[in-house]
């Protein structure tokens, strides 16, 4: 029996009686999910609802000469056939730039391509019909005349003078460039005993959410309101964008987000086909539904990673790391994605590389270029897997060059646990991290010495096992520094409204959203603990812009740390208001009362004074019996945003143990460990499962996942049979441990945990593979995914 014990965390400051903070409370929404009673967007049907299918460009770059619609218009079930030019009359294009990414540029992107298609998969025409099948049938009858244009596909040559410029009005194919030079890099390298230089390559991959992107848009001409049922992470952001580009006021738009079948950053962006669907609803004055099928998901969901990083590290014989140098190049497709831009991942690579280490000398350049492939943007752990793999790959190469144990070189260089607050060479500010405590804990959990001894024994029998580590830092709880300062209307603050209902139960309405990570459980825990009711009496409402406080939603590991703190504060405020009402009824002093287990008691005792349902009954139905001048306020709202620190950095370390079959190149993952420090652990089970799920997404990137393109910009494996994702049989058991360093920026002290697993897993797998193959003289593997073919090539066998 491995079910997690319901044990409290080491937390004490939040130990109110019956506190749920630190407990593995089951999520309130699992009943509907396990019984097939959930409501995903793909389940939504409305009266008069039509379905849209998009005809997508087969060419990576082509001029649209003519679109023959008439055969499709007369096909069975067809309601409308709409081109980009038709739709541009109701929806304006957008440009994905942010003012704080200096110099970033992009071109206007239309909901449906107008005149030119810039990647294979961009929608060029829409068919709206009674059923999706009829819409797809009619798509086959559309006659598009294309004039193929040269496709820019290789980032390495995108900036060459002879390469065509995808958007001539921009002057070149450079989207964004950032450079950084801290300390004295050249001097540090010159003083090193060894300088190691290599190139890391990261395959383009994508989120493969189990539920594809889906939207049902319902423009009600009678009330001039647009309701959008949307599988999104950021309902208020989308409300703003729908209004802005459809010439509506924000209050005319309602975004409803119920169950979402996986998001991971995929569903936090503006997608042209989703914007087009909403515009079609307005154009046709009826509900329109779009659900991406799997094939179109592969060519239209954002891709990520696809970075080439030339990298260098200097080290002294005593293990001191002297400098990090990186040159990152990434191709992001033909448009910077709106509104978060496609410059953020490269920017994060610059920010995060070398981040765990107290090394003042750091030089970086990152260039982001346009190309005629599907767009790239932020996917889970944005930039972290790249920065961590580059950093940790270099550190292991350095350790090997001076014959030092990989844990010892980390012990020598990681920021000491008493060094905080600290500022990294890249300028990042750390409030409190615990790299050394985490490292010692993982070494103990995995019994490092015993594993090394076993490795040695097995090598003599021709069995090659490897052990790899990756220390990492993670950006969570972002303030306005992430997007708001760059001009995007993406809220960094979040709100919670709590209400005592007439029977003593509590409702919480929150601006964060549930994507499966357990945000609703965390909100319920915070409110139940702060207010003082059994958690079964808390009802959580999220994902409805008409009915929740304005907020940012769920991304960048913010829901627990920011949304949870707002809920905690709202719960406390409601307790004060309810105690004031109870004191008024009881003719007692409010500060001599408390709420425990749903009952008003004398503070510090369990002596019952009045039940909550009795307080509510009097306040709602017999307010005439309350003293004159007293007005009960049984609903309160509180907001929260981190102010002292732009981001709440977390840290951790992962370890991988694996075996490489040197005959076939196959890699078997044996075990995986992670110790991470997300501050206060509100729900240990949910944190552990975020870590485990994140690790496996990172393992997929390390071993399997790759969007393969040919030189003409055609994706070659855009289906789940050819694009490999991690399945149960290839994945290892994962042990998770914690160190707790709460942030002082909030009362709860919780930081995020959603990115940590994905941030570190690819790096430690890479290090473990190279550790396994080192005695065979293999060239270190630095190109992900680590396929059997690449392993055999490194061994010189193919």
């Amino acid at each position: 029996m491995k079910i997690v014990a319901d044990t409290p965390s080491p937390l004490t400051a939040l130990d109110r009686p019956n506190s749920y903070i630190g407990r593995a409370v089951p999520r309130p929404n699992l009943g509907r999910l396990t019984q097939g009673r959930a409501q995903f967007v793909s389940d939504v049907t409305l009266p008069r609802m039509a379905h849209v299918a998009y005809l997508r460009s087969p060419h990576a770059h082509a001029r649209i000469v003519a679109i023959g619609k008439s055969k499709a218009e007369h096909a069975k079930g067809v309601i409308a056939v709409v081109t980009g030019a038709d739709l541009a009359k109701v929806i304006t294009p957008w440009v994905g730039v942010l003012s704080h990414l200096k110099g970033i540029k992009s071109a206007p992107q239309h909901a449906i391509a107008v005149e030119r298609a810039c990647w294979a998969g961009e929608a060029v025409c829409a068919v709206v019909a009674r059923t999706r099948a009829e819409a797809e049938d009619a798509c086959e009858l559309i006659d598009v005349a294309y004039e193929e244009l040269p496709a820019v596909t290789d980032p390495e040559t995108a900036l060459d003078p002879q390469t065509p410029v995808i958007h001539p009005e921009l002057g070149d194919n450079l989207t964004f460039e950032r450079t950084l030079d801290a300390g004295e890099v050249d001097k540090a390298l010159a003083s090193s005993d060894a300088v190691i230089e290599t190139t890391f390559l990261f395959g383009r991959h994508t989120g493969v959410c189990n539920e594809p992107r889906a939207v049902v848009a319902d423009w009600n001409a009678g009330e001039e309101r647009l309701t959008v049922y949307h599988g999104t992470q950021a309902p208020h952001m989308m409300m703003n964008l729908f209004a802005k580009h459809l010439d509506l006021e924000e209050h005319q738009v309602r975004v409803v987000t119920r169950d979402v079948g996986g998001s991971f950053g995929i569903k936090v962006h503006t997608y042209a086909d989703e914007m087009a669907t909403v515009a079609l609803s307005k154009l046709l004055r009826r509900p329109v539904k779009f659900v991406a099928d799997r094939i179109e998901s592969f060519v239209s969901d954002i891709h990520a990673r696809d970075h080439r990083v030339h990298a260098k590290i200097g080290v002294k014989k005593d293990g001191t790391i002297t400098a990090f140098v990186i040159d990152d190049l990434t191709g992001i497709g033909p448009y910077s994605v709106y509104p978060r831009t496609s410059g953020i991942e490269a920017n994060q690579v610059v920010n995060l590389t070398g981040g765990p280490y107290a090394c003042p000398n750091y030089r970086a350049r990152a260039r982001v270029v346009f190309q005629n492939k599907n767009v790239m943007c932020q996917y889970r752990a944005v930039g972290h897997p790249i920065a961590t793999a580059v950093t940790e790959g270099l550190v292991d190469l350095a350790a090997n060059a001076i014959a030092m144990d990989p844990l010892d070189i980390r012990r020598k260089n990681l920021y000491p646990d008493d060094a905080y607050p600290a500022t990294a060479a890249s300028g990042l500010r750390f409030e409190k991290l615990s790299h050394h405590a985490s490292l010692e804990k993982i070494a103990d959990m995995m019994d490092y010495k015993a594993l090394r001894a076993e490795q040695e024994r097995l090598r003599k029998r021709g069995i090659y096992r490897g052990i790899g580590f990756a220390s990492f830092i993670e950006v969570t709880n972002p303030s306005a520094a992430f997007y708001g300062v760059g001009g995007a209307r993406i809220s960094s603050q979040d709100g919670a409204t709590v209400r005592l209902d007439a029977t003593g139960a509590v409702f919480i309405h929150s601006g964060v959203t549930e994507q499966g990570q357990g945000a609703e459980a965390v909100l319920a825990q915070c409110v139940a603990s702060a207010f003082g009711v059994p958690i079964e009496r808390v009802r959580v409402v999220t994902g409805d812009t008409d009915n929740v406080p304005y907020g940012g939603g769920t991304w960048a590991s913010r829901a627990a740390g920011i949304g949870g703190e707002a809920a905690w504060q709202a719960g406390k405020a409601l307790r004060q208001n309810v105690l004031a009402a109870a004191a008024s009824i009881l003719q007692a002093q409010a500060d001599a009362l408390d709420i425990v287990g749903g009952i008003v008691v004398d503070k510090g005792t369990t002596r019952e004074r009045i039940t909550l349902d009795e307080v509510a009954r009097i306040c709602y139905f017999r307010p005439d019996t309350l003293p004159p001048g007293f007005q009960a306020e049984l609903m309160v709202t509180r907001h929260y945003v981190p102010r002292a620190w732009p981001f709440a950095f977390t840290n951790g370390i992962q370890a991988s143990h694996l075996e490489v079959d040197t005959e076939t190149g196959f890699i078997t993952l044996l075990r995986h460990w992670c110790v991470e420090d997300c501050g206060t652990v509100i729900n240990p089970q949910l944190v552990d499962e975020q870590i485990r799920g994140g690790i496996v997404q990172g393992l997929g990137a390390a071993l399997f996942e790759h969007c393969l393109y040919d030189e003409r910009g055609q994706m070659l494996n855009g289906n789940m049979a050819d694009y490999l994702v991690p399945m149960a049989v290839e994945m290892p058991d994962m042990e998770v441990g914690h160190v707790v360093s709460p942030t002082a920026d909030s009362e709860l002290g919780a930081k995020g945990a959603g990115e940590a697993g994905t941030a570190g897993a690819p790096a430690c797998v890479m290090n473990a593979i190279n550790d396994a193959l080192r005695p065979l003289g293999a060239k270190p593997l630095t190109e992900m995914p680590f396929t059997p073919g690449r392993v055999l090539a490194a061994l010189g066998r193919v």
Binding site: C209, N210, G516, P726, M727
Partner: protein, 161 residues
């Protein structure tokens, strides 16, 4: 467009008669024609397992079988299996262990797990992993799912002893 065909079958114990297009697959029939939206569509080419349902007692991919092939068949979906209480212990274990996050794969995962557990005995973790390796879960990393299935195998085995 080819001629529509009449089919008669039982779905979750209810008799159903419908006229369908020959090309309509089983999961679209269940979801769109009958409103049984607990079975999900993930990949539409038999890889992800989100559409797993039972036909005549055996799990199948609802996207790889046509509705017309189910004429005369006995079809069970997550809704029916839930209402019968047949997998209540498995659902409880998934909930207690948080063996689901977004929940989109869960109906198919539960039906697949139930097939393994119905064979009796105590499958190893490797056997559990092998058995569910046709069901894609992007959220959990599978560890918690294996834990939950293993726990139910132990419970059911213990209760028989």
């Amino acid at each position: 467009m080819s001629r529509q065909l009449d089919i008669a079958l039982t779905v979750n114990g209810e008799r159903v008669s419908e006229r369908v297009e020959p090309r309509l697959n089983l999961v679209d029939f269940l979801r769109d024609t009958l409103g049984l939206t607990g079975s999900h569509v993930g990949c539409e080419h038999g890889v992800c397992g989100a559409c797993t349902v039972r036909v005549n007692g055996t799990i199948v991919r609802g996207c790889l079988m046509l509705a017309v092939q189910c004429d005369g068949a006995r079809v069970e979906t997550i809704e029916g299996v839930s209402d019968s209480g047949a997998i209540a212990d498995l659902q409880e274990a998934f909930t207690r262990r948080n063996a689901l996050q977004c929940g989109y794969c869960t109906p198919g995962m539960l039906l697949t797990a139930q097939e393994l557990l119905a064979r009796g005995g105590l499958p190893t973790r490797e056997e559990i992993r092998e058995h569910i390796s046709g069901n894609y879960c992007r959220c959990t990393g599978y560890h918690a799912i294996v834990d939950a299935i293993e726990a139910v195998a132990q419970q059911r085995n213990g209760s028989k002893a």
